[in-house]
């Protein structure tokens, strides 16, 4: 028997409410940082370069007050994948691989080139996991919607109602926990009256019918709450037009520096990796 707690199983990142300068960056800027980290993780030619975002994200996470174990723990579920990736490298030889053999078990040999590639795959994946973890841990879902607005902004010139669209996205995201809590309450109410969902026998129609006691009230409540919210917004003079210029834009200016720095760093790392590191340490 499972507990009827839905929030725990909601897998939309894990926002950690803490105060840090990284937390207070705009969601768009954090998105840029994530993008820069991902760029290095994917494009860095050496495993060392690919591992750099891992270290950088951990350092940022530490600065953001996430605690050292939190982000690393996110990598744990990927460990079997890492082992599999490494095995794959060692089992199958690259054509024309002339790099020195490190270890050999009969026909299976681990060459330096294979180790290099395996390390790259692992470094890239681990870096990506940690970078995404950093983003979701420091950005509440509702602010991610703000990043959507920012991303859409250039389309405003084409006459797209960007603000309204963004408000719709933000509201939709805000409704996820609301609907989840309504669902939880309804499931509890029906379970108290002996309702067992998913245990129904019979064809698909009968099974679908078994979920009516959940589906109907949750839909009705979600619509009701949407209407209440609309009414509250209307009472506060919302018409969708004639609003003040959004202040978030002006606060973004300082953050351009952060974005530029993130990209400059990413570019520098890539350049150093490709132009200086690779020619010296690549063994073939």
């Amino acid at each position: 028997m499972k507990d009827l707690e839905f929030f725990r199983n909601l897998a939309i990142g894990q926002y950690v409410d803490a105060r840090s300068s990284f937390h207070s960056l705009g969601a768009g800027t954090k998105g840029f940082v994530l993008f820069a980290l991902a760029l290095v993780a994917i494009a860095a030619p050496s495993p060392l370069g690919a591992a750099l975002p891992f270290v950088a994200a951990l350092a940022l996470g530490r600065a953001a007050g996430l605690g050292s174990g939190f982000l690393v723990r996110g990598v744990k579920p990927a460990l079997p994948v890492f082992v599999f990736a490494a095995l794959l490298q060692f089992l199958f030889a690259w054509p024309g691989d002339s790099s020195p053999v490190l270890v050999a078990f009969g026909p299976v040999a681990a060459t330096l080139r294979e180790a290099w590639i395996a390390a790259s795959v692992i470094a890239r994946t681990a870096s990506m996991i940690v970078a995404v973890g950093l983003y979701t841990a420091t950005t509440p879902e509702s602010e991610a919607a703000r990043a959507v607005e920012e991303g859409l902004l250039p389309l405003a010139r084409l006459g797209l109602p960007v603000h309204r669209l963004a408000l719709a996205v933000a509201t939709a995201i805000r409704f996820v926990p609301i609907v989840a809590s309504e669902l939880e309450s309804v499931v509890k109410a029906q379970a108290s009256r002996g309702g067992r969902f998913g245990a129904g026998r019979g064809g698909p129609l009968a099974k679908a019918r078994a979920y009516l006691p959940l589906f109907v009230p949750v839909t009705v409540r979600a619509l009701e709450r949407a209407e209440l919210l609309a009414e509250a917004m209307e009472a506060r003079c919302y018409t969708g037009e004639g609003r003040s210029r959004d202040p978030r834009r002006s606060t973004m200016r300082g953050e351009w520096a952060v974005r530029a720095a993130a990209f400059a760093l990413a570019a520098a790392v890539l350049a150093i990796d490709a132009l200086i590191l690779i020619p010296r340490i690549r063994p073939w």
Partner: protein, 624 residues
Amino acid sequence: MPLIEAHAVSYTYPESPHPALTEVSLSVEAGDYLAILGANGSGKSSLLRLLNGQRIPSSGYVRVAGLDAGLAENAALVRKTLCLVFQSPPDQIVSSVVEEDVAFGPENLGLERADIESRVEEALAAVGLLEERRRPTHALSAGQQQRLAIAGALAMRPACVAFDEATSMLDPPSREAVLRIMDELVARGVAVIHVTHDMAEAARAARVLVLSAGRVAFEGTPDELFSAADGRTQPPALTLGLGLPPAAHAARVLGLAPRAREDASGLAARLLAEHPEIRYAALPARTADVSDDSPIGQIPAAASPFPAFAAEDLAYAYLHGTLNETEALRGVSFSLDRGMSLALVGRTGSGKSTLLQLLDALARPASGRLKALGVAVPARQDAARRDARGKGGAPLLGRRRAYKAAVAEDELLRLRTRAPLSVQRPETALFERYAGDDVAFGPRNLGLFGAALVTRVRRAMDEVGLPFEAFRDRPIRALSGGEKRKLALAGVLALEPEALLLDEPTSALDPETRSAVLRVIGARRASGSTVVMATHSMEEAALADRIAVFARGRLVAFGSPRSLFYESYDPSWGVARPFAVELALALAAGGCGLLVQGARPLFPEEIAAVISSVTAADGAEGLR
């Protein structure tokens, strides 16, 4: 010129055969304080929406600051003059950050940034949320969220703020905070309109308007509403089916003139002046004593061998096993005998609802021991250990363990219907098209059908006051809010449960529906059901055999109403005392015996009986 003026407005919702409002007139001046009372569905909310132009009257007119509220071009001016605060705090929040939410209204008006900033600051300061301005809105408590909604209204610099049952979903301390803000607004010259079901709240206003079936049934001062002047035998509040504030009710049954705004000590002083003899009377109540109290938070040594619920060191955490794990309950121990009633009190988020879910096996304790109606509800860690054992070991033994586990699980599932939980606002879980079908959902899940099923449904519907014959085929959509609440209660009663678990069963109900629901619960208690009920009303809690006080996930006090309210009362619980207790204490301070009977405080009716017996004895002595 009045600030707000409605002249003979009528309104009928599209697709509705009956008008919601008929020829309603009212006027509100600057700095006015008007309370609007009326049953669920009497048109109060519709009236507010006509006043701020969100609905347009079918006839009559509304003027706000001299402007016709029905005209679209006046909408912005009207809505920034008359701002609304609604019932449900989370349904009014637009932004994810406190100060941005407050800025939403001013931004809609197209104001300059500097102006918006100063308005936001001023509004947050007025509701005491300035410290929280950078916090995410979802991290606020319900009470804070409601104050945020008020700040959102104040940022418009309105001339009038209308509260639409804005206190009904709050715990008493949060409610008090909102009421204080209303007082401050009025003192600053901002008019306040307060739609409420609470008579004590209405008594704080300068004027009261009562709506009944869409018409104005009364208009006057709270004193006129709650006292029987002009040779009437009943105060208008009673003829209108509203009830009285606790003090006015007590005054009335004690034979004194009810006053709208009187506290317990004022009433006690009047009572002692009127009946000085009760000071010296040997009060029967004083001698009666039942030793029924257990040390706080502990299982009484002489606990019955068949308790309905026995908890030992219960703990529970939401989002268990994640970084955001939050403790909801810790170290909770108590025992409740079968047939007894228990009231759970404490602030919102103190753990009351969590405990109810554990008692119903809807959630499993993280640790500790819990026995509900003889069934052991295993803690999460024990269950995990048992599962692990079931997997290993000899195959035959494993199978036997699996069988036993299945039996245990079945028992837990059955427990849910033996002690069903009626969740908060249970009417939101109604799902069938017709009333009778929804009540039948539970008994049908128990395997009943045919005549037995009909009997169950009939009995439950009759019991809650929705006669089976009249209501079975009514579409649920067409029921009023109060009727839906009763129907949801019938859906639980139709299970013929041994124990009832109720989460705020009377929240946001009008006085009539509220007493109807309390009558049904009382009847179940009288017929031997165990009742556990979370409530914010101390008047309701005082009626229970036991009260459990929760604060921040801990059971801080457990005992009879008498022991809690008289002997070990602690204001830090954040729980007020019922008026009957305040009165008894005020009388005791004036030289009377402490008016308690057995385990609970004497209610005004009983105090009146004491007085009449004392005065009768005095009269007899005088004759001798």
